[in-house]
Subunit: 327 residues, 2 copies
Amino acid sequence: MLHGLDQRTASIYAPVQEGLTKVDDKLRSLAETETSPVQPLLQYVTDAGGKRVRPAITLLAAQFHPHDPARPIFMASAVELLHLATLIHDDTVDNSPLRRGRATVSNSWSPQVAVLFGDYVFATSATFVCDTQNIRVIRRFSETIMELASGQLMEYFTAFDASQARDLYNDRIYRKTASLFCTASESGAVLGEAPENEVQALRDYGYNIGMAFQVGDDLLDFQGDASNLGKPVGSDLLNGVLTLPTIMLMERYPNDDLVQSLFQDPSNDGKLQKVVEVINDSTILPDCEQVVQDYSDKARQALQVLPDCDPKRSLLDLADYLIARRR
Amino acid sequence: MLHGLDQRTASIYAPVQEGLTKVDDKLRSLAETETSPVQPLLQYVTDAGGKRVRPAITLLAAQFHPHDPARPIFMASAVELLHLATLIHDDTVDNSPLRRGRATVSNSWSPQVAVLFGDYVFATSATFVCDTQNIRVIRRFSETIMELASGQLMEYFTAFDASQARDLYNDRIYRKTASLFCTASESGAVLGEAPENEVQALRDYGYNIGMAFQVGDDLLDFQGDASNLGKPVGSDLLNGVLTLPTIMLMERYPNDDLVQSLFQDPSNDGKLQKVVEVINDSTILPDCEQVVQDYSDKARQALQVLPDCDPKRSLLDLADYLIARRR
């Protein structure tokens, strides 16, 4: 049993509890078999905890047909390691001091170490995928790393550009977030020997909960929720990152240059407060909540082709839970 | 025909000239098919030239038996892309302004872009390897990225530590340099359908020319050669990096603390000059040249099991040329 899970998560993970424990053991044993200088770094990042949502999705998606149980476990471990690798580099690029309440690798060691160690973790995750012996998921995995990196590059290059439309935002959050959820569920289905229509259904599921997750996360930035871990309201805007609420604001008031004016003068606290205020005084936040709900509904609908069973109920429940935990 | 090759390189590459042109086309076409923001970055790094030594080795190593010619070309393209990816991250970590006479990605764009774009190029190289459809080389490729990253981490963590022995140096340069040469020749042999004893022979060849190449490169730092591109003599030492000449110095004078004293006071120009002087006044540099020659001889000896043919003559010649070009 994983430590620190709340009761609902534990119940969702129940059908794959044994597999998740094996994933955790695999990640922890990495640090034990490695030698200096990588060993303390691996220990540090694999000890950091986390909800293991992505590996849980891989394992649940594999449960619908008889299969070699070792393969989805390799894949689930790879998916979680890849997630950890992206966090190491993202925190370096963003110069973030903290992650899950602990110093980031970049902060605790140095940005140089974080770049090289991130590469090491990326490559380690790729060797785990090789253990699946399945070229389709191996290729999908590499393409996912390309999407994750290009999504972050898009965010970087479009910072403080107020001319981005909603389709660009959707493409960007697909790449930086939903892509890995997609790959988690799709590869689980492939390694779980599912027929192609179910693979596509589970891939759709992953896409939609990934999109729901990221839009929901972007909403938090305007809600000042306790789960926002002390980040100030509007911190995405402060960094020049457009998210759905701001894009909706610009869609509704195309002749207003509130956001453009803020991006030209990003340290102006009054302008930031004004944007946040106008958004909060409109129906934008409930409308964004509806977008999240729609993605979550689509994720659940995608599962209609699958037979009723515990893993399916867990995936349905997870689609609810991932968006509800913010409230 | 590749541009800018001298006559001897062109003659060595002759048996795989067509394949190398395809590799170059593949790399260039990457930039053409990609969209913003990655497109200009890909254009920039694939236009930078370079001798294409590693892909040439892969293609030459594949020439000994009938095989599907497309596979070594995918692999050779992957090997060169991986090399480019490591340069992008290494230049970022080292904060290097120039590479091959042009601004580095880190310098021309930003360190943030270089981290994310390097990830993108790593992942792209991995998708090329998937096109070989061969799990053995796909796995070897990921392990190579782990070795490259851990070699750089070792260099970083052991900087200004004067207590390193020669075996640590050998392990470090294997990881940071010879590993990729190894993988270039080994994977060429595997995809060229060579029997296992020839795969091992070609792997040994790659290991030994990789080691010769790096020790030779480390020697340049003490020789102030024109090919050293304006780097000051002793710049490795200035950065706290021990290489073979300095290690030999410490082996010969174990009670002398010249190097230790320099590492405690690295900006002391007199101490640096002293170390360089003592090395130049000894037989250390010729002895290091002998180490390079020995690796090169071993590389040639490894090829004894292979039949005499043009690709073999090219590999033999390359083992000479790679170490001779420094003189």
